[in-house]
């Protein structure tokens, strides 16, 4: 808790410092070397859901203050503090604070500091760019919503007309395993490959493969003791950022396909994305059949510059360690959303989420929610 307190103090100071800069930025307008963005996120939901990241009733969501810019001709920097509700208390957390090279030759790039791991399709994207109120079940179960940590990344982009990107990362592993002390200097490693391109004018695609190695798995005594009844994910515990279900290896496959008539995505666009994850090496008793699996498929359609609707189907299958044996758990989730985007900077979203317990998730629930995600300040360029 002491750690948390000093962290929020630090975050608070950073916030103050950033807002002073923000005022300057607005005065000075263009040409200032610092882009400030503030994302406001909040809303109302009727119930808590299993592994949900938002509390029922009125609650703030992923409210975030970020700053980024070129430091000099060799480095770029970015930082973001996010606000979380944790056990009824509001906490500020530094989710990003990293530097990145701008001048390395041969398509190489190094990043160091605290940042979002480059795994899967969604993990390295900011939560406020998501199409649904909650991250897919896969992320909530295996990556603590989104996995960021202190570490380093090496990326290489191939000199080809379509995208070929290879990346390797090393992290402390502390946020994923929700621990402050470990014997290991490097707790997690990742490897990631991304391919992508266009098919004619109207279609574009991306495909990715990722591997996350968790060296700390098994080191922590009783990692799983606290969620015997699978109730852990019910909001309140949710924003710890530790993963609920861990293993030695996490494998991820992701694919995205987007279609917009004549490439004019502002007027109309169909976005289809899906990911599959498999977690192995749950503990020393696990046989090759004792693995966690999760997948989702999401479809979102924009039929007007201000209107979008989407559906998402999620599935999660876990093997819950219990001393030397395992209990099976299975959860399904379906979401439908309607989003109104009055401008490029604001979103109002109505969403229905239905959970279905297929064993071990007796607290599965349904919820209806209304939330807003709005941004001030810098435009904030988004990834694909």
């Amino acid at each position: 808790m002491k750690h948390n307190k000093s962290l929020s103090l630090l975050a608070g100071n950073l916030l103050l410092c950033l807002s002073v800069h923000a005022a300057d930025a607005i005065k000075a307008n263009a040409g200032l070397p610092l882009d400030i963005s503030l994302t406001l996120d909040g809303g109302f939901s009727s119930r808590d859901i299993v592994l949900g990241g938002r509390e029922r009733g009125f609650a703030l969501g992923h409210t975030e203050l970020g700053a980024s810019g070129n430091i000099d001709n060799r480095f770029r920097g970015q930082a973001a503090v996010a606000l979380h509700r944790h056990e009824g208390k509001t906490e500020l957390e530094v989710e990003e604070a990293y530097i990145e090279t701008l001048g390395l030759p041969a398509g190489l790039q190094i990043r160091g500091g605290r940042f979002l791991a480059q795994i899967g399709y969604l993990n390295s994207q900011h939560v406020h760019a998501d199409d649904f109120r909650e991250r897919p079940l896969l992320y909530r179960a295996f990556l603590g919503q989104h996995y960021f940590d202190d570490g380093m990344r090496l990326n290489w982009v191939a000199p080809s007309d379509f995208l070929v990107q290879l990346g390797a990362e090393a992290f402390s592993g502390k946020t994923l395993n929700h621990t402050n002390s470990t014997r290991e200097r490097i707790g997690t490693y990742t490897l990631n490959a991304r391919l992508g391109g266009d098919l004619g004018r109207s279609q574009s695609w991306q495909f990715g493969l990722s591997w996350l190695r968790n060296q700390l798995q098994g080191e922590m005594k009783g990692t799983h003791d606290h969620h015997h009844d699978h109730a852990e994910g019910v909001a309140g515990e949710a924003h710890t950022h530790g993963a609920s279900y861990t293993g030695r290896n996490l494998y991820l496959v992701d694919g995205v396909w987007k279609w917009a008539p004549d490439g004019n995505n502002r007027e109309r666009q169909l976005r289809v994305s899906g990911e599959y994850a498999r977690v192995t090496g749950l503990n020393k008793f696990a046989s090759s059949a004792d693995v966690h699996n999760a997948a989702y498929l999401s479809l979102v359609y924009r039929w007007h510059p201000q209107w979008e609707a989407g559906i998402r189907a999620d599935a999660l299958k876990v093997r819950e360690p219990h001393d030397d044996h395992f209990h099976a758990g299975q959860l399904e989730e379906r979401s439908v959303m309607l989003a109104y985007k009055p401008s490029h900077f604001s979103t109002l979203r109505l969403q229905l989420t239905q959970q279905q317990d297929r064993g071990g998730f007796a607290q599965a629930s349904n919820t209806i929610s209304l939330n807003y995600v709005m941004s001030l300040g810098a435009h904030g360029a988004h990834g694909f």
Binding site: N29, N70, L108, P159, D198, N264, S343, F345, H382
Partner: protein, 302 residues
Amino acid sequence: MRMVSKCLLTLFAATTVVAHAQPLRIFACEPEWAALVRVLAPDAEVSSATHVLQDPHHIEARPALIGQLRRADLAVCTGASLEAGWLPMLQQRAANPAVQMGKPGLFFAAEQVKLIGIPEQVDRSNGDVHAEGNPHLHLDPHRLQEVAAALAERLAHLDPTGAPAYRQRYLQWADRWQQRMAGWQSRAASLRGQPVVAQHSSFAYLWAWLGLRQSADLEPKPGLPPSPGHLQQVLSRVRSELPLAVVQTSYQNPQPGEWLARQTGRPLLALPATVMSEGPAATLDGWFTRLIDQLLSASTPS
């Protein structure tokens, strides 16, 4: 043996020559800059990130564009925040030091000329206005020529061996362009002073050059799509002074324009906001000729 080494030597010589003659790879954010590059550096390998049917404000940082920017020696973009939603992400992801901010490999047209429409106050409640001013400067042929001059110098700086050729091509082109401008202006003289209704400030520079007046905007605020309530207001405002035409770009949804055109009995013009991908309007000359032709077609009663 001698034969083989001779062969190898020739081969080596050939590859070094190829390496020297490697054409510049140029990434154009918009088609008008790709067209300009084709005039000044016809041997360059040029790609355009967007085309005439796309809204350049709303492009996604697609994987294909990251790949293209990765290999570019020069990126030619508009600037003035037009590409703020996607170019920074491409620069960040492409890991190409040549096209980072402040490098000679990044050319912004808006930095070469004086912009119009600079807001006195930037507040998002007034819509998505660019603090730097209206970025659609390529619709003014005078400013386009200023940009061409600066771009020729930039090409000369990046590729010193080709410098005389870039300057020569610019001078030849500018000569022709000035004659063209005079021709377009005299043809369009009858348009001077006429009101037009348009969507967004896309054609503001064209209106200023030809002396047309935008009497109403289909957008309630910059960057917001036309709403029924706002269209009613526009209709009541323009009834007393019917516009020459209702003008939209080819990437804007034609429905609001069609409605107003029906209500006012004035023609709807879908003007290409930049050079087209094929046909006579695929060059800068052909495109401006087409713009003038379309505007004149609206003023002659049919």
